[in-house]
Assembly symmetry: C2
Homo-oligomer: 479 residues x 2
């Protein structure tokens, strides 16, 4: 079969060309497709089902902390976008503008939301009057548009899906608490659900969000040693509140400005899953996020009783709460194996006439290729165990890879050499001034990823200027 | 309390002014809010939670029939929108146009999707090659934009949320089957989940969707006797396939065009819930779709033990799977009652010191105001029963109302008099020609709602022209 040959040969090896490998996996695992709309993608069923699982779990975690979902318009009138000075400077150059509604020109043009701080502020200004109206802890699931010049599926596209939380609080302390709380929700979600270890920390002023007082981030390391900003949480203080006039009568009957936060996670996380866990056979999905956890593949399925037994096993596993499918198509078993591998389905069950006779099945892990023979009546229990084990092992493997690619530098020469030769995070001290940050980007090609919450003092002086420094920073090349 | 007085008095009675009553309920039940974006609404937590329940249930029903979710871009290049002649004529006058991306004008302007047939066709043209690629049964949850001149929350707004299913099939029969299947999914969902009885039928050619061969619809009757189109399912035949070149190699090795369908349901259904079930105290939610099913309201909550017992009851009900909240705010019980009623929460539990002493609570139904005293240890079971009963009674009540407002006419004079004096559906025979349909709109102010699947022959001749007629049509004034 010509098609069979093509699938096996269709992936560039990641060592040869990581970017091409990524593109190949996205296409061959049927996660996305190109469209006639330049820079925008179709998210196909296999990709969207991953996003649905991310949404469901993240939404559940949000709601446990008191988040309520809402929906605001996708358009922002130009005058509204311009109300907060830093914010408009950050976003105006990359928005899409709507100028006509129906056959008539609009009186005021509107952009398609690149993010919705201004809309939430406008809404809150009318909706918040008293301390009784606080806190507001709202979130929306939607798509946003940023007119990027170069795009890549999931990582950077002109339209992407995300959630954006926007909160308003009576005090600065409460806003700060919520900012950190949501960052931790993201970090725990990334580690527990996606098996992606992250560094939690704060962005430098240079890298923070347009209009924020402080931005917190989780940073993950991809297989190629590049960093990916994976979720951010911003504390706005009362800057937006002052620009939009969001005031409330406090218990003491004085008018005060609210303190606000926002936080977001996007379909980019699907890119992270691919680049942290994938291998040269394709996608590798952590069991918790995998739309299909087990694929049952019959061998010699035309032989009597094989398909019936395979279907019985599928039903039994589904009853045990394991997301299981049976591939009973007329393709060859070898082709089915490579499809299951390409799509990253965590466990494969191979079942042929001889297995049935012996009362067992062959079980193969996608993450490490390990095979074992399992008695049919022990299958459900064993698979449950295996899925937990795989989830655990994938996180540990990713953590080991991350740690092995995290370097320290205490002098500039080592820093530059490391940045040049060893893809990964570089930990180094920084004095806090943007000149040094700019210089490191210029001379070593890295940006500051974050100032981790877990601070260490690995030297006394700034890696660049040599002045006293008390901030440990993670540096790296980033997507 | 000035505020208390305001809530009670804040709703116009529905008999006095139904449109104003609707607007008042939407605002006072805190379902939506106005925005600075003309014609677009904010869907607030109480409104969005209803939509989430609709989504979850509808999505579950879709997936049971094999539907897979995807996501396509929100933009449609102008040349793509123009590929199917009838379709572009139907939608071009009411789309929003994006003309600039970032600081530069676009080479080709794009509209924000008013519906995505053209995008799905473009995608399918590249994705479908062989009979093995069929059927495609895809759906997406998203928002769409139609530049309406006059808008009303949920019923007609420039942006609204919906799902749109788009399928492609190898044969005309299969497409027709899917078209009807999805209409029945909508109808069953409306009746079983929203307690809204519907008439299932086919649209006349005049009323069908732009580009469709046939449009099927479910029509519901609102409390004021106006009809609301509540869900539609379209069979496109191979018209779009020919315009977009969507061909596949069939088993006999010949190239064939696919047959397509699309089907959608929107946030408009929240408007239907309000207008079918609401009353002069506000919203009345069917238990299955109600975000909160039971509100526990303590009486004399400052007295020792009351709040603790109320919380115990809340926890017990939540454990039994009943969505329950406790209103322990410092408002008066009377205020809390009217809030619970305004928000349409199906059951209220009143619990004071005397009730606790007697070991019971007072349980009040929102739909009919009936009160009963229930022993505390029987509460969970009784509430479960009550919720089922309320769901059942609401459907029957709505059905009785609909039936009482469905009239028959076999002569034109009666038809016009009925249309003039009795808001509701009018059943009358029609010859099938558009001139009669136009004339009835002109002279009686009604449109054809549908040709019901359950056809009857109530006369031999067309209600307008008197020529032989074999089609029974439901006529009415519509939202």
């Amino acid at each position: 079969m010509a098609k069979e040959k093509k699938l096996v040969e269709s992936i560039t090896s990641m060592e040869e060309d990581f970017a091409q490998w990524y593109t190949d996996v996205v296409r061959k695992a049927e996660l996305t497709d190109y469209t006639s709309v330049k820079g925008c993608m179709v998210i196909k069923p296999a990709g969207y089902a991953i996003w649905e699982n991310i949404q469901r779990e993240l939404d559940r975690r949000f709601k446990e902390t008191g988040v309520e979902n809402v929906y605001l318009p996708m358009f922002i009138p130009e005058s509204l976008l311009q109300k907060e000075k830093d914010h408009v400077e950050g976003f105006a150059p990359e928005v899409a503008w709507v100028t006509h509604g129906g056959l008539e020109p609009l009186q005021e043009r509107m952009c398609v939301r690149p993010t919705s701080e201004t809309l939430f502020c406008d809404f809150y200004a009318g909706d918040i009057h008293s301390y009784r109206d606080l806190p507001k802890v709202y979130n929306q699931w939607c798509s946003v548009v940023r007119w990027e010049k170069t795009t890549r599926p999931f990582l950077r596209s002109r339209e992407f899906l995300w959630q954006e939380g926007h909160t308003a609080h009576a005090t600065a302390e409460e806003a700060q608490e919520r900012t950190e709380q949501m960052l931790n929700v993201y970090a725990d979600f990334a580690e527990e659900f996606l098996a992606i270890p992250v560094v939690r920390g704060r962005k430098t002023d240079k890298e923070k969000f347009a209009g924020a007082e402080a931005t917190y981030t989780i940073e993950a390391l991809m297989h190629d040693g590049k960093a990916l900003q994976s979720g951010t949480s911003h504390n706005f203080g009362d800057g937006f509140a002052k620009a939009f006039g969001i005031q409330f009568a406090d218990k003491d009957n004085t008018l005060k400005y609210v303190h606000q936060t926002s936080w977001g996670m996007t379909t980019r996380m699907i890119g992270a899953i691919i680049m942290v866990h994938g291998d040269n056979s394709g996608l590798v999905l952590p069991p918790l996020v995998a739309p299909t956890q087990v694929m049952v593949i019959p061998i010699r399925q035309q032989q009597e009783g094989v398909l019936a037994k395979a279907e019985e096993i599928r039903e039994q596993l589904v009853k045990s709460g394991i997301r299981t499918r049976l591939d009973d198509s007329d393709k060859s078993p070898g082709w089915k194996f490579s499809e299951q591998e390409m799509r990253g389905i965590p466990v494969r069950i191979e079942l042929g006439p001889k297995d049935i006779e012996a009362g067992h099945a062959v079980v193969v892990r996608r993450d490490n290729g390990e095979k074992e023979t399992v008695a049919l009546d022990a299958l459900a229990d064993r698979i449950q165990e295996l899925l937990k084990q795989i989830q655990h092992d994938m996180l540990e493997r990713a953590r080991a890879h991350r740690d092995a690619h995290t370097y320290e530098a205490t002098d500039l020469e080592t820093f530059k050499k490391t940045a040049d030769e060893k893809p990964g995070f570089i930990k180094a001290m920084w004095c806090g001034c943007q000149e040094c940050e700019d210089a490191l980007k210029e001379e070593a090609g890295v940006t500051s990823r974050c100032m981790p919450f877990a601070q260490e003092k690995i030297a006394d002086t700034c890696i660049y200027c040599g002045k006293p420094a008390d901030k440990l920073v993670y540096w790296g090349k980033a997507y």
